[in-house]
Symmetry: C2
């Protein structure tokens, strides 16, 4: 474990590099410290830190740059995001995410990704809770004109989803009511996925004794009346911020990166894999992963994310993705705050 002066020099080096993006030399650190250690002394310390794997030099005579190990150390033992306060950020987040009538009614998830991108100057990503995790609270079936049926599924702790299906024949409202009753009595509290499977099983099994109820249900089933588990909704913002990063100057790499970001499915997997509810390794409600172990374009990136949970344990994800040179305290605070607000909002809507 790094202690005392070495630790301070490392922290100073990291802060300076995060700020400027330039390799930092011994003189820079020397000037910054009050105890007036000379550049030569700092050089010795830095040589030690380099030997220990915390710093590296882009080439013989440049300054030094923090390694991923250094960032991890910094986040784990130096950064104090819980003490970090930036009232501008906090205010901006609150203002952007308040359900205000006067602003364009984009979804809060969209705005969350935007505000995270703005504050972190990186990519902001938000993944909505996946429908497959939803727990069924109530189902309602409403007959509409033209043989259409409105299916309203209310999950616990998430906005209701409605879906319209067009049937080949009419199913009267009272029969729909009986079907809905049946579903509510049998499947309330079930995970949507489980309910889906069980319904399929029962239809299969009791094929013989088709009464009116099961017949209607089978008809609906065939039309896929349950909301699709579907590609999780993902909101992404701030990809253009990456263009300002000197560490991504290589245009070929940048192009690959943008392409990857457009493949939203891969991003979803990334977030779900790295940001889990059970994570213990969390710094103030946010999980920090430095040096992603992912496919080339984003390997070596850093991910700062948090789960936003509703009372019912439904989990969305908010995160910031970018090169490891990040203002960790600031971004961690922001991610945590956004996660809280989004989680609260999802609760209210339920």
């Amino acid at each position: 474990m790094l202690e005392g002066r070495n630790r301070e020099v490392l922290a100073a080096t990291i802060r300076s590099f995060i700020l400027t993006g330039e390799p930092v030399g011994s003189r820079t650190i020397s000037r910054k410290r009050r105890d007036n250690l000379s550049a030569a002394t700092i050089r010795n310390i830095m040589a030690d830190l380099e030997a220990a794997g915390y710093l590296e030099q882009p080439h013989t005579s440049a300054g030094r740059v923090p390694t991923e190990k250094a960032y991890r150390f910094y986040v784990a033992h130096v950064a104090r995001p819980e003490r970090y306060q930036n009232s501008n950020d906090a205010e901006l987040i609150r203002r952007q995410l308040r359900g205000d009538e006067s602003r364009p009614p984009q979804t809060i998830l969209e705005r969350a990704s935007h505000v995270l991108a703005t504050i972190s100057r990186n990519v902001g990503v938000v993944v909505a809770p996946t429908a497959a995790d939803l727990v069924l609270h109530h189902i309602q079936l409403v007959a509409l004109s033209d043989n259409r049926v409105l299916v309203l599924v209310e999950p616990r702790g998430a906005p209701a989803r409605s879906r319209m299906v067009r049937m080949d024949e009419e199913i009267p409202q009272d029969e729909l009511g009986r079907i809905a009753n049946y579903l509510n009595q049998n499947f309330t509290g079930w995970r949507l996925e489980a309910a889906r499977a069980e319904i399929a099983r029962r239809l299969e099994e009791e094929r013989a004794l088709y009464d009116a109820l099961l017949r209607g249900l089978a008809l609906l089933w065939r039309k896929g009346f349950l909301p699709p588990e579907g590609a999780a909704e993902i909101y992404l913002d701030g990809a253009s911020n990456l263009m300002d990063r000197p560490e991504l100057a290589d245009p070929g790499m940048l192009r690959e990166l943008l392409r990857t970001l457009e493949e939203k499915q891969r991003l979803v997997e990334l977030l779900l894999r790295y940001i889990q509810t059970e994570d213990v390794q969390q710094t103030l409600q946010a999980r920090v992963v430095i040096g992603l172990d992912a496919d080339p374009p984003v390997s070596g990136f850093a991910l700062i994310g948090a789960v936003c949970t509703t009372e019912q344990g439904l989990a969305g994800r908010v995160a910031v993705l970018g090169p490891p040179r990040m203002a960790y305290e600031r971004v961690i605070s922001a991610v945590a705050q956004v996660a809280r607000i989004v989680g609260d909002a999802m609760n209210e809507k339920s």
Copy 2:
């Protein structure tokens, strides 16, 4: 009007430039033509075309590059997109946009922007019909548990929108039924915006004689029960394609461009402004604008777009946006086909 040999040389120059992106020299054209005109002759013709404003030279001794005027001429008088057939493209579009159960259930609009981006190697943009244009077909109000009311608005020719509002007090289902009846009898066939205004007026005017019906309506109104006219939904794909374009090599410009693309509201305005239903200047169902008259980052870009209309005259937009060096025939065909399919799909869903 350009005729004969000049016209052919111009067309050949444009085709060559679209293909390679390199300024094209007289020898290149000379070799391509069957009539074996020498490079010197071509040079003379090209000098004339330059004088007439169709070509220009990046510098004294490079080849020549088509101007916007040249592209416009090409699209208006040379290109024959209606004869252009690329069965690969057509097949790809059909496959991507078919409402297939086996593929991830993203909206068809999202997939439309993706397939356009893929084929054109530019940016694909799709704007959903704005709610403000919607014509009301039917409204249904359903009481749910916990004082919540489900508002189901069925427009003509567009997917129904549902919205849940939480009321401060209970409104019984039969009263909701009366309110819905009232709305349906009075406002079916109205544009949603107009209905919104008229409802506000009536509530204001008849404030005095509040009967139960109007009281319930007023309560709903205060909760904003009509679906928000809202930020038009926009789907964008293929921004990363722009990085491959040599004409956008300048990183500063590229950054500005990406930023602009992230401001979706501006894109919506752009499409709505340039792609209108009444356009006569259309080439095979697609409108081509070369050299946008917009704010810096996209000024000088080309836009190929089409309106997709439903039977009820509701209008979404699909478009391709990119530098004017485009495979016009191919992109025009693709845009037109996608617009047709998306329009049909919107009709079916209604």
